[in-house]
Symmetry: C2
DNA sequence: GCCTTTTACTTGACTGGTCAAGCACCTGCG
DNA sequence: CGCAGGTGCTTGACCAGTCAAGTAAAAGGC
């Protein structure tokens, strides 16, 4: 384990082996996600959007014409983002998002995808899918889904204490 | 798959299933790492350091009295960090790092851990290890190491194009 | 019908991260 | 020895993310 080829221990030139399997896994997980993220970020970056912005645009595309209130977008993001307002500000400035106050609840601001955004997403769909495939290319689909299943358990374990169900979510699941 | 409990599809309330295993895996990977990162970040945060700063301090502890030049630290970081100089600036301002010019190569700046830093790390060792264990608690060690092995392959696949071996690394491996 | 509480953001001040350019220093090569 | 080119950082300008406090609207009492 001490500096073996292809392992994190080797890559970051660590002098001592990991104290536990969990510690090694945490480091490997964060490092791997970081690399994958860079690859995707790079693809988005070529079209002038960050990965977070891309994520928002995809969420809005999925929401369709109805649009989505600001905090609902935040709740669906892959990575938590408290700066959601400003993030969308920038997208609105670039005419990738339109906002309007919700008539039935004037506290909410409904966000909509614009045609520019849909065009941008259409351009990004293929390269993003390719970037994802490239990362998991050495693994068969079965192995890939195995990772997914294992990671789901990890998220459940740390997410349980980390991100307690919000009130909004509780309310939603009640009906 | 469409919104099943405990899966990413359910958690982020996605309306359509994923187009491919790779895309699902990418989303799951980034989301999971993000949650794990938050948990660790939170532990560090209570002692006033970011996860990146903690990583630097650990690297310097590992380096011992010899210290380590700035860019060597950057190379060993779990997440790539071009802002390494400023990151260390902040650590130096808080007296967690000492810097001095290397006498044999005056371009390099050798960074050293201070006693304050060692004390801080000693305080963080246990809670950080616990946070890591908590994330992987539902998995047996064998399953945990299975994830590590799979993720190593993913990193190799996207890292190959993403982060080509630097010249410095080539030089080092030559002797 | 008012008054508290909750929700859904928004704003301001700040910290931290990123990119590009620059400077000091070393390393060969003629 | 001098100088072209590479290395190792640092700096400045910018942008994105974070935290705390504030505002406006809805919801729920009494």
């Amino acid at each position: 384990m001490l500096g073996a080829l292809g392992t994190i221990g080797g890559e970051i030139r660590q002098t001592r082996p990991f104290a536990s399997a969990a510690e090694e896994a945490v480091v490997t997980l964060v490092a791997t996600a970081s690399r994958v993220r860079e690859g995707l970020s790079d693809v988005c970056g070529r079209r002038g959007v960050t990965l977070q912005q891309y994520n928002v645009l995809r969420i809005l595309r999925g929401a369709g014409d109805a649009g989505l209130p600001t905090l609902d977008i935040a709740a669906r993001m892959i990575e938590r983002s408290p700066g959601i307002t400003r993030l969308i500000d920038r997208l609105e400035a670039r005419r990738l998002v339109r906002r309007k106050r919700c008539p039935s609840d004037r506290r909410q601001v409904l966000c909509h995808s614009t045609n520019d955004a849909l065009r941008l997403l259409a351009e990004l769909d293929l390269p993003m899918a390719e970037a994802a495939s490239r990362c998991f290319a050495p693994l068969e689909d079965a192995r890939t889904l195995e990772i997914v299943a294992l990671l789901d358990q990890v998220r459940a374990a740390c997410g349980a204490v980390q991100r307690p169900e919000t009130l909004a979510e509780k309310t939603r699941s009640r009906h």
